[in-house]
Every structure is written in C-alpha cells, then in structure tokens.
Amino acid sequence: MPKGALLAVPATVVYGTLFVAPLAFFLVVSFWHASLFEIIPGFSLDNYVKTVTTYPRSIVFTLTIGLSIAALTTLIAFGFAYVIRFKAGRYGPVLLFMALVTLFGGYLVKIYAWKTILGIDGILNSALLGLGLISEPIDLLLYSSFAVVITLTHYLLPLAILPIYGALRGIDDLEVASARDLGASSSRVMCDIILPQAYFGIIAAFAFAYLISAGDYVTPRLVGGTETRMIGNFIESQFGMRMNTPLGAAMSFTTLVLSALVIVAVGTIFRLFLRRR
C-alpha cells in the first residue's frame, strides 16, 4: 500500500457503504420484477423496456430542461466569475461574497420566494400592472417550465460560479498580456487562453447544474404546473405509492446513463470547439 493511502480509507468506506453499495443493490433490483406488493428476483429487461415505452416524453423533457438550465446557469456563472476574476479588481471578492451569501438561503426558501415573485398577484405582475405595461396579469410566469428554469438557475448559480472562478483564478494575468502582445484580439484571448484553461471548471459547473436539475422533482412540483412532469416525479411515485421498486430502479438507471451521456457529449463538443482553432 503506498504511503499515505490510509488517509483515503474513511472516505472510501463512507462512499462505498453509502453510495456504491446501495446503487449496486438497486442496479440488481432493476432486473427483478414486482408483483402484488412483493419483489421477485429474476433477470429481465422488462422494466427498461417499460421505462422507454411508457415515459419517453418525460425523459426527453427532463433531459431538455436539464440541458437548458445547465447551459443558462453555466453561461451566467462564467460571465460572473469572469468579471470577478478579470474586471472587478478589488471589488471582486465583494462580488464573490455576495454570490456565496445566497447559499445561506435554503432551497425551499428560494422556491417560495420565486412563487411570490412570479405568481398571478406576485411582485412582478403587480409591478407590471402598476406601471401600466400590461392590462391583466400574466399567468404563464408561475406554474410553467419557465418558472422551473428561473428557480433552478437561481438556486444553482453560486454552485456553478465556484468551480469556474477557481479555474479562472489559476490563469496568469501575464498569459493574457502575452497573448495580446502577440496580436490576439479579445475573442482570441478568450478562445485560446482563457476557455482552454477554464475547461474543467466549466465542465464541472455544467455537470453540477445538469445533474441537480435533471434529478430534481421538488421544484417542478411547487412552481412547475402540470406540463412539467420530470422523470424524477414518476420515479418517486414508483418507489412510494406504487411500490414498484424494480421499475423505479430501472427508470433511475436509464436517467443516470442518459445524463452521463449528455455530459460526456457536451464536454466532447466543447473540447472539439476549442481545438478547431
């Protein structure tokens, strides 16, 4: 055993017993089947077939909304982290603190905050009515995909800013100065110097935002309305009311694999885009 490997033992034990083992258990269960409130071991792909035939729209919706939220969050987070790192000077730490302080507001608090902002008689509608910009309240603000995107983006933003800012901090100002000195325009500096070095931070932020939003089922229930049926909502009901653990497990693994594919695809496309130049 290499020296110092002992230090990794606690984390390995926790990770193994609380994450890998249950996951492996549910992977096995996903090939079993449920019958009359009883789970019967076996091996069949029925649950997976049922998942893709019964819930295709929900899966596509989940992947799409996750992708939109992750893209939007990563874009805004990059802009914010970029300003903190390169433009804000001594106000940078203040901006960073402001972003992080929002983490103190809990997840549910943020959801309810957006409910009061976006609702029919919420702050936004009242303001627009008061200004005379609209004649009757817009009811599409709340209970829509739009509300889900806004709420989750707001929630995920500080979590996405951190890894990107960490990556940008590693870039030497002199590298940027040198690139300009060699004739690089601002956009070339961005594509040739900054983005390649911030690659892992950006992908980490994206994966973070994507996995959390694609796996979420609380936000859609509270602000999402009827059209936002995330796969998470169905998975929850399989494990809960329907007591069909095998099908729930199969749905979970389908989503997990598809999510991983989406992240790998986005990472690859981003890398190819950077290398093209």
Binding site: A177, L182, D192, I193
Partner: protein, 350 residues
C-alpha cells in the same frame, strides 16, 4: 522620416490615482540600440516600458514608433513584443505551440509558421524541447522560450522587462552572453528594464538612469559611469565614494584633507571617486592623497576591497589587487595613504 528615431516618447507622464509613476519624460531610441532603463524598484522604469508596449496608456504625452503615433494602440496593434519577468508562457501549450502562437494569429501558411518557429528555437538553442510542455522546463529554459516567442514575431522593438531577474547569477551571466549574441545576430532594437547595473553595463549600448519617475541621466554606459551628473547616478551606476569639499579660487579642498586644482565658481562640491581609481601609495608629496585607517578588508578573489576610515564619519572604499601585503602590512587598523588621479568630469556641484 528616415532619420527620425525608431521609438520616441514625447512628454509622457503617467499617474495611478494620486501616485505619479512617470513624470514628463522625453526619450528617443534609435534603430539598432540596445537601450537600458536602469533604476531601483518603484522608479517608474517598468511603467515606461509598459507605455512603450501599449499595456499602460500614458496620462499625458505620446508614443511614436517608426514615425507613427501609436499612443492609442493596444499591444496587439503595435510592432513591439515584450518578454516578461515571469515569462507569461501559455501553460496549456507546448514549447512549439507557444512560439508559433503569434504567427498563427497572423494566419501565415503552416509551412512558414513551422520554419520560422524552428529557426527561432534554434537561435535560442531550445530546438530539442519543442514538444515539451512549458511547465516542465527550468527557469532559464522558460526564459529562452519567452524570448523566442517574442523574437519570432520580428518586432521593430523588443521590450525586455527584467527578463533575467528570476534566474541565478551563473545562468544570468550566460544569458547576458546569449542576449548579446542574439542582438548582434538579428540586429534588432532592444529596450531592457533592469535594476542590475552590472547587467546594464555588460549589455546596453545606451542607458537611461531613472530616479522617482524621471530620467536622471542618459547616455552610453561608459559616459554615464565616467561622468555622472548627480550623486544619485554616481552611486546607482557602479560603486562610488562621495567626498565633500569646497572650491575657492579654482582649488578644491576636500573635507578629508586633499586638495587639487579645478576651475569653476566658488562653493560646495562633491567629488566622485570610483574604488578602482584609488591606489595605495607609501608617502605622497602630492596634495591629492588622503590618509586613513583600515576598518575592514573584503576578499573578492581577483581583487580586495579596503574600507578605509578617513575621518570620524567618512569611510572610503578602495579596490586594490590582491598581494602579499594583504593580511601582512595591510590589516585592520593599519594606516594607509590613498592616491588618485583627479578627474574633472567627476566633480559635482552639489
């Protein structure tokens, strides 16, 4: 405009908030010069270099390169390239990619880029490292890559911002030789910022000594060394003993005792005596000799430095050849007489 200087600063000043880094400076650098800006840290020399490179825009004044006003041009639009003290190499690229980067931006043909990159890497003797990641190189090697990356652009003016300050003494010496060789080989115009007077003496064809945002004196290093314009320049460029004295009727009398003829108005003067000017003499009939007691002897291998106390608060440093005498008749506490040939260029009216 063929006889206009290649690079010209006209009345350049630069303030950062309430702090003035450079005060109304005029400077002309000719084609082929190896020009050095010398001064202690905080004297404004780096700011001046950054003004030339376009990284800092002057508060007042203008910058001219090749007869064109480039004051408002950013670094990407100037025919200058900079080598930074901490290199600023692209850490995610190999040596070759670093050097080729500027040429690729100019959209040169691939074969051209490859040939020029190869040639400049050979010039700095880094051709065997072209596929290494720059983070794996030593300081001296990184410096060569940074130099190659700037040189490959064929800049009208190459700006060197204390490029060797991070290297150890031996490496610095060999880079001095290297820089001289490269300057001769390509015949370009170099501007070097340095706080190391030895570096400036061995490299530069012209030097400007800077003092708190102003140029205190400008000229060939030898001229400035031999005829410093002020106490500041005398002490900054080389070692100097400053002896106070009075001039009355064309004769200077030093507080330390010696006197010699020197034309000029009556008043207080400072005489600059370089340590290597001083010679040990037995007894001197001449007036220009001063006596004192050895306080300290410092051995340098090729020579010895004698610290000689003249009066209660004046110590003079003399540089003499090492000999049998050192440690024998020349010891701490020995009384010695020092003589030098007075140089009228080294009399300052301060």
């Amino acid at each position: 405009m063929t006889d206009a200087p290649l690079l010209q600063l006209r009345g350049v000043s630069k303030s950062f908030g309430p702090v003035t880094a450079v005060e109304h400076t005029d400077l002309s650098i000719e084609q082929g010069d190896f020009f050095a800006l010398l001064g202690p840290s905080g004297c404004g020399k780096t700011t001046l270099l950054r003004v030339m490179g376009g990284f800092v825009s002057p508060t007042r004044g203008s910058v001219w390169i090749g007869g064109a006003d480039v004051t408002r041009h950013g670094p990407e639009h100037r025919p200058t390239n900079m080598v930074f003290q901490r290199y600023g190499l692209f850490s995610h690229m190999t040596v070759r990619q670093n050097v080729a980067y500027g040429l690729q931006i100019q959209r040169l043909a691939k074969s051209d880029v490859a040939a020029r990159t190869r040639a400049v890497l050979e010039l700095v003797q880094m051709e065997h490292y072209e596929n290494e990641s720059v983070t794996h190189l030593s300081g001296g090697q990184q410096q060569r890559v940074a130099l190659a990356r700037a040189l490959v652009m064929g800049p009208k003016v190459l700006l060197l911002d204390e490029p060797l300050a991070a290297l150890d003494l031996k490496l610095r010496r060999s880079m001095h030789v290297e820089l001289r060789r490269i300057h001769k080989a390509i015949g370009g115009t170099f501007v070097l910022v340095s706080h190391d007077q030895g570096e400036v003496m061995s490299l530069a064809s012209r030097v400007a000594v800077m003092d708190s945002g102003r140029i205190a004196q400008e000229g060939r290093p030898k001229e400035v060394y031999q005829a410093p314009a002020s106490r500041y320049v005398a002490t900054f460029l080389g070692e100097a003993n400053l002896l106070e004295g009075e001039r009355r009727g064309g004769v200077i009398t030093l507080a330390a005792g010696a006197s010699f003829p020197h034309d000029g108005p009556d008043g207080t003067v400072t005489v600059v005596v370089r340590p290597e000017q001083l010679e040990l003499v037995q007894e001197s009939a001449e007036d220009i000799a001063i006596a004192g007691m050895i306080r300290d002897i410092i051995y340098f291998g090729s020579h010895v430095e004698l610290h000689v106390r003249l009066t209660r608060d004046q110590i003079i440093v003399a540089q003499v050849q090492d000999s049998e005498q050192v440690g024998d008749t020349l010891r701490d506490g020995s009384r010695v007489t020092l003589w030098w040939r007075p140089d009228p260029r080294k009399v300052l009216k301060e």
